[in-house]
């Protein structure tokens, strides 16, 4: 049986080198514009950066995937199509796309370019996945973080393309590509402009020992003195409803599915994805190194080791998310 592929994030060239050196099988990244879902200030790659990244990674037999996974709007297809053309020209190993029109463009213009279906497409059932395979020749689908392991196993038994799942990092409790919470508060969309909780709409303020976070002028959380903080996303906001303040959608927490490697292997998963293109290279190095060690141990038939990644997680808590609790 083949080993899992370990797919790792890179928001900057230095993070890419950290991921490659720490043991990635492939690194995913985005261009420095709205064509990818992590369009944050100071982040992402110029075309020259991507060319350098491909050279660095390929010299070490590591693959490079480019995420072009936001949705182009009517009358403005140019940046997205150019991103696909440039990714093909720069000889990346795959592009990660979500929009059907862009998938059609890539399949027609670059028949040799490997296509992965982004989690932003939220393809979570057999018929949807088959459609993307048949219509565009998609070779791999990244599954949304709303499926249990038994559901993933059932899905894999009925499809003949590779599946990739998230194993560590931010936990989007909403179906990706269909979330409008941040758009509601800020007028900017994760799906169109690539910005969930855009930084220029975020403010933090100290209120005595407490830390308040606001998004688009709405206070969305107040962390008490000494309480671990989280990202300023609405889905992890704490709201007053009924008896008092509570996390109505999801708590500030990070996904960590390291303990589920045997179950994910049995479910037929091909690749494991670490989230965090917005995180620093120290995070990338630590998490990739830990997962590489766990995978090597698992591949050798030894128990999956317990590796402490507590220092890296949001809100100081970890979860196996929907994989085990049937969350919807």
């Amino acid at each position: 049986m083949d080993n899992f592929e370990l797919i790792c994030p890179a928001g900057t060239p230095a993070a890419l080198r950290a991921a490659v050196d720490a043991g990635a099988d492939a690194v995913y990244l985005g261009f420095r514009d709205e064509t990818n879902a992590r369009n944050f200030p100071g982040l992402n790659f110029t075309r020259q950066d991507v060319a350098d990244a491909v050279d660095y990674a390929h010299a070490r037999r590591v693959e490079v995937y480019v995420a072009i996974n936001t949705y182009p709007q009517a009358g403005n297809l140019g940046p997205w199509q150019k991103a696909v053309d440039d990714a093909a020209r720069l000889k990346v190993d795959a592009v990660i796309l979500a929009d059907p029109g862009l998938l059609a463009y890539a399949a027609k213009r670059h028949p040799d370019l490997r296509l992965h279906l982004s989690v932003q497409a939220s393809a979570a059932n057999v018929e949807a996945i088959r459609l993307y395979r048949d219509a565009f020749g998609v070779r791999r689908v990244v599954l949304p973080r709303v499926l249990t392991v038994p559901e993933i196993a059932k899905l894999n038994a009925e499809i003949d393309i590779e599946t990739e799942v998230f194993v560590f990092g931010g936990l989007c409790p909403m179906a990706e590509g269909r979330c409008s919470l941040s758009s509601y508060a800020t007028g900017l969309s994760p799906n169109k402009q690539g910005v969930c909780s855009p930084a220029n709409h975020v403010r933090y303020e100290q209120r005595g020992g407490a830390l308040a976070s606001t998004l688009g002028g709405f206070t969305i959380n107040v962390f008490g003195e000494g309480e671990q903080a989280g990202y300023p996303t609405l889905c992890k906001g704490r709201f007053v409803a009924g008896d008092g303040p509570a996390y109505l959608f999801e708590e500030p927490t990070s996904l960590n599915a390291m303990d589920l490697l045997p179950e994910l292997k049995a479910a037929g998963v091909r690749a494991l994805k670490i989230e965090g293109r917005q995180r620093g290279k120290a995070y990338i190095a630590a998490v990739v190194r830990a997962y590489r060690e766990a995978l090597e141990s698992f591949a050798a038939g030894r128990p999956v080791p317990h590796i402490d990644l507590q220092a890296m997680v949001e809100g100081g808590t970890q979860t196996t998310g929907a994989y085990t609790r049937g969350w919807r």
């Binding site: 990635a24 100071g42 220029n200 933090y204 100290q206 620093g280 997680v313």
Partner: protein, 227 residues
């Protein structure tokens, strides 16, 4: 598929290396504390020289800092006598500002900058050198930010996009003899400090506390604060 033989081992610092790093951090903080005593003109000139040196060594990052809209970020170590005001944009510059007695007057500090980053000196240095993840520090509340979040994010991502910086060595390299001494000091600091620590444990408590007070005066911190 990656070449398994090509994987590099990223080593975890030993206790000895940690001790040497804490010592080095304490000394560099003490050095930073001396900068404003040079007077405004001399300290600005010194920091401008340091900035030029960093720009030469990290051209990609500094070009990006110059391309940012004009703005200023106050980098404020809560356990040091000075803060650094960094202006980004065309007129990239660095200035040392004395902090208030008993910690910063936060309102006054916020007023001079578009954004403020506060945290222990050692953590800020680790962050600037890309040794630690800023989000993780923020989650643990060891780092606080206020003002223009997008500006802080852009600054953090730009600096983190560089391969690891060595600010202590860079600062030392503009001080002539110190630059030549630093590699030797670094090589020997860990083992020497280990021996001092072992000897210290054998001392009677009053003498031990006396030494700690002297160390605190040298490094500008209190013993046990983790420097």
């Amino acid at each position: 598929m990656r070449d398994p033989d090509a994987a590099q081992t990223v080593s975890t610092p030993t206790v000895s290396e940690d001790r040497a790093r804490r010592f080095e951090t304490g000394l560099s903080r003490a050095g930073l504390g001396l900068v404003p005593r040079l007077g405004r003109r001399a300290s600005d000139a010194l920091l401008a020289r340091l900035l030029r040196l960093l720009a030469d060594r990290h051209p990609r990052a500094f070009e990006a800092l110059r391309e940012m809209p004009d703005a200023s970020v106050l980098i404020e170590p809560v356990d040091a006598p000075v803060a650094l005001l960094m202006r980004v944009g065309r007129d990239l510059s660095l200035h040392a500002l004395p902090r208030g007695v008993h910690g910063a007057d936060e309102a006054a500090a916020d007023a001079v900058a578009d954004a403020v980053i506060r945290g222990p000196y050692a953590r800020l240095l680790d962050l600037l050198e890309g040794r630690i993840d800023g989000d993780a520090l923020f989650f643990r509340r060891e780092l606080s930010i206020s003002g223009d979040t997008a500006l802080i994010l852009a600054l953090r991502n730009t600096l983190d996009g560089e391969d690891e910086m060595d600010l202590v060595a860079d600062a030392a390299s503009i001080a002539g003899p110190l630059a030549r001494a630093l590699p030797v000091l670094r090589r020997n600091a860990g083992p020497v400090l280990d021996r001092i620590e072992a000897a210290r444990r054998l001392l009677p408590p009053p003498l031990r506390r006396g030494i700690e007070r002297v160390e605190a005066r040298i490094t500008g911190t209190l013993p046990g604060s983790g420097m």
